[in-house]
Amino acid sequence: MITSALPGASGELAAESRWAVETYGLTKRFGANIAVNGVELLVPRGSAFGYLGPNGAGKTTLIRVLLGLTRADAGTMSLLGYPVPRHRDAALARVGAIVDEPRFHPHLTGRQNLRLLAAAREPAARDRIGPALERVGLARRGDDRVSEYSMGMRQRLGVAACLLADPELLLLDEPMNGLDPAGMAEMRELILSMVAEGRTVVLSSHLLDEIERTCDAVAIVDHGSIIRQGPIAELLAGAQLALEVECSEPGRARGLLAGTTLGARVEAVPSALGLDMTLPAGAGRDVIAEINRVLVDGGISIYRLQPVQTSLESWFLQVTTRLGDPQ
């Protein structure tokens, strides 16, 4: 049962809320399947926030619950400080959203579809149709039928539909789907420009690279639950560090390391040119220097020693691999 007893429930406090999206214990079940499992999500205002997870992780379901397209079974939530679903109309007045693939009436033009949507919003929304089309690069094709649009154009029309609300919060579900590399770059620029204006963008995606390029903070979701959330830089700082070592006698080098105190902390596997090492989370430069000293003292020639910056993708795989571990 949903309750709406969040702080900041009143309209006056809503504008002062620090969070664009807050959920506490949000749960949605489809029979025995739990699509959203006790999600506690805090999205700061004015940020680009990635909601990252594999297919079937429950990303779209969470967005549908937030927007009132489907009911939650438990938990509380608020958008822009307005508890929903109690103040859903007030909250959604300032929210733009793309859910699933953006689909429109194919027999209407892009502009006519936007007129249809603007009519359901405040009167000022109608004046935003032209600028919205302009902004997403559809001004010249705005009077073409949507049936003639490519997938990328429909995605952009979806963003234009979001802009009709002059939104403070945009919830974009897989906005890069179906886009070619150029289209993805344009969409990324568009999202970043909206964030630069102070809007909050929640980007749901399974494309780790896009999330890493676009977002400040991220929540990782799997099987309906959030397993990590926070600023990407902080999260990656807590990830394991990889080290590529190009050296002579890799086998002996591995043995040397195993014979020291480093052996328990460093995992080393032979590679074509030397060793690939995985350092523990939080390992600093001193650990790298210690490895170098041990190998040089042992008579190993070091040709190259390079730390590899952990990407969101490798970190994501680390996290999800651990999740899959029965331990």
Partner: protein, 335 residues
């Protein structure tokens, strides 16, 4: 379920954006649809060109072409082709054609208006505006009705206009010219004055005297001056006229205004009910095809069965009248 600790609260916002000045609380939670929603919904339906052209051809084009052919035929060969308008043709359209095609128009538009937002994926865009779902549904009703009622009304207006303005100015029956628009008494008087052609040419199911001078020379010509006739012949002519009067009115008279208004309202009512049922069914089922099929099955199979049910209070007229006004018009006793 494996859970992992949350690493920390996300970074603070870069800079919160103040709420735009134009964002005032509107009444989007209200179930009453805004005028703009209705207007754009009309546009959405109207722009379905294939559907609209089909329905216009069906409900307006067919009577228009039918009457055009009759008007041209009568204009070029008035003796061979009767006038385009007449009570009989009006009855054909008002009692049979227009209700049937109005039903098709209403069912199709209703099911389209009720389902296409869902099937074309537009409904969720509308819902996330925060507008009340009820308002989104209700906006479809006046929008669809504006189209259905207009199409039905235009088709019916054509029928009425032709029935009135192209009504016959004379009636030629077996070469007997009869003036149109006579009341029962006037028709009787006219028959008395034209006793011999009436007796010899108009249909009569009773006994006719054997010594009538038929065929008479004037029966092959147009209206002739009154001929001297016996009182017996005049009485018989009045009797024949009385018997033929319902047929005369049905065939020759242009429909009265009250009937046209009443019939038009019945046709519109049927279309409105059909549209509303179609809209509701399609909204519930989220598709167009099955509700359309259900409505047609109802109209073709169930409605005739229900119509055949004998309602005691209407028993007197049930054989001839189903409650439609033109039956009462043709059968004044049932009014």
């Amino acid at each position: 379920m494996t859970t992992m600790p949350v690493s920390g609260v996300p970074a603070p916002a870069r800079g919160s954006r103040p709420a735009p000045a134009g964002h005032s609380r509107d009444r989007r939670g209200s179930p009453v649809p805004a005028a703009g929603m209705i207007a754009t919904k009309i546009m959405e339906l109207r722009k379905r060109r294939g559907l609209m052209i089909t329905l216009i051809v069906l409900d307006i084009g067919f009577p228009a072409v039918f009457y055009l052919i009759r008007l041209l035929g009568h204009a070029f060969a008035p003796r061979a082709n009767p006038s385009a308008g007449s009570g009989q043709i009006f009855t054909f359209f008002a009692a049979g054609f227009l209700p049937t095609f109005g039903f098709i128009v209403a069912a199709t538009v209703g099911c389209t208006a009720g389902s296409r937002d869902l099937t074309e994926g537009m409904f969720r865009h509308l819902v996330v505006t925060g507008r009340s779902r009820l308002a989104l549904y209700l906006a479809r009703i006046p929008a669809g009705l504006a189209i259905v009622a207009s199409l039905v009304a235009i088709g019916y207006a054509i029928v009425c206009a032709v029935s009135v303005f192209a009504a016959p100015t004379f009636i030629d029956y077996n070469n007997v010219n009869i003036p149109p628009g006579l009341s029962r008494a006037e028709f009787g008087n006219w028959a008395r004055d034209h006793a011999e052609p009436v007796v010899c040419s108009l249909p009569y199911s009773g006994q006719v005297p054997a010594n009538l001078p038929c065929p008479l020379p004037w029966s092959k010509s147009a209206v002739t001056p009154s001929q001297p006739a016996s009182a017996k012949l005049e009485a018989l002519a009045v009797k024949i006229a009385s018997q033929d009067y319902p047929g005369y009115t049905a065939i020759f008279r242009s429909p009265p205004d009250s009937l046209m208004i009443e019939a038009g309202l019945w046709i519109e009512l049927e279309a409105i009910v059909t549209f509303t049922v179609g809209l509701g069914l399609a909204s519930l089922m989220g598709q167009r095809t099955i509700p359309v099929i259900l409505l047609f099955v109802f109209q073709i199979i169930v409605t005739p069965i229900l119509s055949a049910v004998d309602i005691p209070t209407c028993r007197t007229c049930s054989a001839r009248s189903s409650g439609w006004p033109w039956h009462a018009w043709n059968h004044p006793g049932c009014r």
